[in-house]
Amino acid sequence: MSRRRADKKENEPEVRGPNSALTAFLREQGIDAGAIRRRYEQSLLTERNEQTSHLHEQEEPFQENEIILAAIEKRRRRRTDANSDSGYSDSSFSSDDVKDSHYCMNCDREFKITVYSKKLEKDGKVGYLCTECTRFQVDQERRKKKTAFEARKKRKKLASALLNRQELKIPSLQDICIKLLSKHIDDVHALGDISVVSLNKISRILSKNRSLNNRTMMLFLDVTLKHLEFWDCSNIDMAYLDKITAFCPKLESMTLNMCGQLHNSNLISFAQNLLDLNSIVLNGPFLISEPTWVQFFELMNARLKLFHVSNTHRFSGDSLQSLLTNCGTSLESLSLSRLDGLMSKAAYDVLPYHLRNLKHLDLSNPFKENLIDDNLIMSILSVNGESIETLLLDGCSGLTDLFLVKGVKRYCSSLKRISLESLDQVTDSGLTQLFGGWTINSGLIEVNLKRCFGLGDRGILTFLNHSASSLVSLNLNSVYSLSHTLFQTLSRTLKLPLLTALDLGFVRSVDDKAIAILSRICPKLKELEVYGNNRCTQRARIRRGLKVLGRQSDSI
């Protein structure tokens, strides 16, 4: 180990004279001329002892000592003699060293000690190893170190793979090709005939590498293309966004994420030239002004079926009014998320009058919590209740139990996905009332109850009883009041056959036992998030195929 302690240093005298490299090396190896001599004398002594012990058993020790001293004296004399008569002759040395032979600590072979001999401590005895044993030992240590090093690196790789929700396995040939292609994308002139799936994969990787730009985007444009998705358009400028209309006239759906460079003229040209366009998803189109939105909706008219917009402050009440009057009746999917320009309640209040057969509704994160209230949601649901499948109301913290009990429960027969993140006014009893005897709905698939602080064991249990057989994804992050009892009850009463993703971050009652229970009762569970639950450790018993994310012990 390299953990040399500082206190060792402290015991040594600080000031030393000049040293040669050899001296430093010998000291570091623990070799010291005095020690070697002492050791030799010691061995001489024991040898003598053994030889003489049975001969002169009664002899006094002091005499024995005398003999040894005499022997040493004799040797010293001989050495000086040898030195004096024949300059520097090694003969005396070697003859000494032959005598100075050791027995290997490992194999008990007799050997000559050299500076390379390994010192070993074994069973309380200190000794040296013979040349071969030394070599073996050194080899072994090196290997050990290497494996430890590999293990370290592997742990890091594992951690980053966990982060990417991937498993550390050998990638498919296709994936390798795609990866290589996207690495050298700057040298690619045409992608040729590649399947749409692969194209999408490449496009995603390029977005992730931030290399989707004016040049590379052209590779994806094709006359026959019907669906287009760019996940990071921040490096594509106005002129090139216009080329989409020129190159892909048959486009039906378009997804532009992070489109901070999408200008007014681009949007208008989309509406004018892409005649088949019926669904558009825009995230962050903050350069589009209010009049342009109005003009866009007038041009799109009844064509527009899906409209998702988020992260802009220029989408105002007038824009929304225009959207609803022009396209309201045909809209099937509407998402208005993080629109700081929608500041009046009146703008939202007209929603129920225009929307007829909505399947997907997302009103998450309004500018203020009082913009969206129970009455609004209830009246929207009373019209669209039968068709609605997805209801996303994250951060609409003005909502209470009322809309669940009087709205969702009464109208939503085909609801599949619901998201109620950060609705702190929703209580345990509200959830119990909703799911207790909700017969018109056969079960939810995706439920997000993140940060609904008001919920407790009873509500969650009622809900799970209702949707256990259909539930695929569940988020209970930061629902603090869940207790051990919940998991115990679940363990004994329920099975969640389809559940694949579960988030239990910051639910402090989740521990090793809870993980083991979940691992057992959810046979399809793949991802379990337990961030912030410090009682989840390496010791938890987990089924193969289940990834537990956010355990501290995985990375520390």
Binding site: S2, R3, R4, A6, D7, F149, G260, F506, Y531
Partner: protein, 816 residues
């Protein structure tokens, strides 16, 4: 008359005479009034009165006593006693750290709320304020102090003309030209708003408002003011407009740019980027900067930092110690004639008595510019330093009320009388203080104060250009900015620990309250609060502080060297030239795995060229090093370490930003560098690639670190300490900001958000502030909201009260 003889003249037998000046009260009791009356030297009055103004701090108590008595009528002793008491208490605050009703003394107003209420930038940095308090009082002592303390209701007064009016009249009589200053300013033609043409050679297209700004800059430079303040809000391209000014007329050079160290390299790269290298840029910084003025003349633009400026000035004027004694070295900067000097982040010279301000003032130049997003951070007085730098006459001058003497310097070499006219300091007044500052401090924005305030605005209208992002939102095309607070709760273990610390702190605080010494223990209370805030971050910040590392039972010091590649205990640690430590194996592998130009091999931590001896001897664990080094060296490795709620919350947030189709980069801010060390270690172990910016890094290291973050897609997290990276950083590749610990004042947090919310940002910006709900942090946030509301509710409110923590605020923090 010398001080000794003056004192000796009347209290020879005073036992306290030889005691230090701090014990004024004791001295006062020892003196009998009758004695003083009898022995008062008749001529001691005027000179001692004036001396008080200058040397508040180092006077001996008896002299002070004498002079203050001397200024008053001798026959009215009894009420004077109380007066005297007051005066001494007030002066006591200047030296001590306590300040009962501190607001009444300093009574500062931030101009920003009046000129532009929406972006009030006040700074509630408490320790700094305490420092500034001293300066403030010294300043008051210099300028003629209005005799506020004489106005006691107990004393019947004859009606008289107020001091202010008297001085104004005298000034106008003796300096008739001053009468016209403000009317002239009012008449002064405003520069009309017009777009300039794009300067030739600029590679980037200027935005409309930037062209307007350029027009203003050119016109303003030609006007009588010869410069001004460009105070556009952060992220609106002050740098670009300045570069455009350089390019507008390239014959006018050399230019000197003085910037904070962080921004130095950014200036260089921006100039090179936007001008295609037409301008020759020289950096005057670091050990091997040029020594002669000649070298500087070769460049069009010279970049330097405030600290270098101060240092060369000091070496020129005061010299520095070498073996052979005091050596003076001519300053290349002060011996070069510049066409224009630009102070970036000009509030660096807000303290006009600092060496930096003096060094900036004595530069030889024709045009002077200040750039600052926050021209006024705390008080109007700060504006004065900029006015002095820009040499705006008569605003920066001192005038004598007895004769036509005027000067920019306070020249009283013998502390008694003016070097030019011989009148006493009392008779001299500063134009800015008199007409613009004092009345606001005295009355707030009412009556005379309002008039002064109008004067200030009038001046600013003529020398300052300020546009805000809100005004120019359409030109800028900035994304919306969303601010969210993420609230979390402690887990049980943390809660226990926090509760014990809290009850301890609360008891101490209550003790202070009971004894009535809250204000005397400001620093102590602050330490208590800081501990609690650190505990909310991670318990190790409190338990394993620098210097308190315990030696565990085995007698071995805890601590290891951590390899900065594998983030584990280092095997055979070796150190690179840039003082980063790695396992020998890790770094060997790193070096071997690098296939490219070997000259481009960079250190994996600071991204400078790597230089390391792979065969060198392994370094040993040094107890000293561990104590001083990063907190990561002091934590328990080997799986025993526990993370905290806040760190895990951050990891979770970052994890949720991960996706297979888009890279979202984030900046993480914290005030505690140890917290950043911990977070960095945790994130790296979890598989994130991070970079970190610290105050201790050299400009080159900063530049390469920033570049690495901006150019490598896989580096997702940038860790910055709030102090080091709060200003002058352009990180628009990132679009998320995480602020780990709430700061007292929201504006510092707004600023950190501005690192990403600026021109060039095309992604939606989100700022997440972390807060542990059951800790002091939630109260800090409440306090912030309270203050923000107060600012918005009352326009004419003296915001000095808002900008610092009052005793009731402290009480609130400790309330249950």
């Amino acid at each position: 008359m010398t001080k000794a003889s003056e004192a000796g003249g009347f209290i020879v037998d005073d036992p306290d005479y030889k005691k230090p000046a701090r014990r004024r009260r004791a001295a006062k009791k020892a003196v009998s009034y009758v004695e003083t009356d009898d022995e008062l030297p008749p001529n001691g009055t005027s000179s001692s009165k004036s001396s008080r103004k200058r040397k508040v701090k180092d006077e001996s108590e008896d002299e002070e006593y004498q002079e203050s008595l001397g200024t008053d009528k001798v026959d009215d002793i009894k009420p004077e006693d109380d007066e005297e008491e007051d005066a001494i208490v007030i002066r006591g605050t200047s030296t001590g750290r306590n300040r009962p009703n501190g607001a009444s003394i300093v009574n500062a107003i931030s101009l920003s709320d009046l000129s532009d209420l929406s972006d009030l930038e006040q700074n509630i940095d408490i320790p700094e304020e305490l420092e500034e308090l001293d300066l403030e009082v010294v300043e008051e002592a210099e300028a003629p102090r209005p005799k506020k303390k004489r106005k006691t209701p107990a004393k019947p007064k004859k009606p008289r003309v107020p001091y202010f009016t008297r001085v104004t009249e005298k000034l106008y009589n003796i300096h008739p030209s001053l009468k016209d200053v403000f009317p002239n300013l009012d008449q002064h033609e405003q520069i009309e708003v017009k777009k300039a043409t794009q300067p030739e050679g600029m590679t980037c297209t200027l935005l409309p408002f930037q062209l307007e700004g350029l027009n203003w800059l050119v016109k303003q430079e030609e006007s009588e003011f010869g410069g001004g303040v460009l105070a556009d809000e952060m992220g609106m391209g002050k740098t670009i407009q300045t570069i455009a000014l350089f390019m507008h007329d390239r014959t006018k050079s050399p230019n000197l740019v003085i910037a904070p160290t962080v921004a130095l390299m950014q200036w260089k790269s921006e100039i090179e980027l936007h001008t295609n290298g037409i301008l020759k840029v020289g950096v005057f910084h670091g050990q091997n900067r040029g020594k002669s003025a000649e070298e500087l003349k070769e460049y069009d633009v010279i970049l330097t930092t405030y600290s270098v400026l101060e240092s060369v000035y000091r070496k020129q004027n005061y010299g520095f110690k070498r073996k052979r004694g005091l050596v003076k070295e001519p300053s290349p900067l002060h011996n070069t004639h510049f066409y224009r000097v630009i102070l970036d982040e000009a509030h660096n010279i807000k303290d006009r008595q600092s060496g930096t301000a003096k060094a900036a003032n004595s530069l030889d130049t024709e045009k002077r510019w200040c750039l600052s997003g926050t021209p006024l951070q705390n008080r109007i007085g700060e504006m004065y330093s900029l006015i002095r730098f820009m040499k705006l006459y008569p605003f920066c001058e001192y005038f004598c009320t007895k004769c036509d003497c005027r000067s920019t310097e306070w020249k009283f070499t013998n502390w008694k009388c003016c070097d030019t006219c011989g009148h006493t300091p009392m008779l001299h007044t500063n134009f800015f203080n008199h007409f613009m500052l004092k009345n606001i401090q005295k009355y707030g924005v009412e009556g005379l104060g309002l008039e002064s305030f109008k004067n200030i605005r009038l001046l600013l209208k003529n020398i300052m250009l300020r546009r805000t992002k809100v005004q120019r939102a359409d030109d800028l095309g900035l994304p919306p900015r969303i601010v969210e607070i993420r609230r979390d709760r402690f887990n049980e273990e943390e809660k226990d620990l926090y509760a014990s610390l809290y009850s301890d702190s609360k008891r101490k605080f209550n003790d202070y309250v009971a004894e009535g010494v809250v204000l005397n223990n400001y620093a102590n209370i602050f330490t208590l609060i800081t501990r609690m805030r650190q505990l909310a971050d991670h318990p190790d910040l409190v338990l394993r502080r620098v210097g308190t590392n315990s030696i565990d039972s085995s007698g071995m010091p805890e601590g290891v060297i951590v390899c900065q590649l594998c983030d584990d205990e280092a095997e055979e640690p070796i150190e690179s030239k840039c003082h980063h430590k790695f396992c020998r194996l890790c770094v060997s592998e790193y070096v071997e795995g690098f296939n490219g130009d070997p000259n481009k091999l960079e250190c994996p931590v600071c991204h400078l060229a790597l230089s390391i001896d792979l065969e060198g001897p392994a370094i040993e664990v040094d107890l000293e090093l561990i104590k001083k080094g990063s907190i990561v060296n002091r934590i328990r490795m080997g799986g025993e370490w526990r993370s905290s709620t806040k760190i895990e919350a951050l990891v979770e947030e970052l994890f949720h930003l991960r996706s297979d189709r888009v890279t979202i980069k984030s900046i993480v801010f914290s005030q505690f560098t140890s917290m950043l060390d911990l977070v960095e270690w945790r994130l790296k172990r979890a598989g994130f690639e991070t970079v970190k910016l610290q105050g201790s890094m050299s400009p080159l290291q900063r530049e390469s670190t920033i570049k690495h973050f901006m150019e490598t897609p896989s580096v997702e997290v940038f860790l910055v300490s709030l102090k080091a990276g709060g200003v002058a950083l352009n990180l628009c590749e990132a679009s998320q900001v995480f602020i780990l610990d709430p700061w007292w004042n929201p504006s510092v947090e707004w600023q950190s958000g501005d690192r990403v919310h600026r021109i060039g940002q095309h992604r939606p910006v989100k700022i997440t502030r972390f807060c542990i709900e059951d800790s002091i942090e939630s109260r800090i946030i409440e306090l912030q909201d309270k203050k923000a509301n107060m600012i918005h509710a009352t326009i004419n409110q003296d915001d000095a009260a808002i900008s610092r923590l009052t005793p009731s605020d402290l009480q609130f923090l400790f309330m249950n």
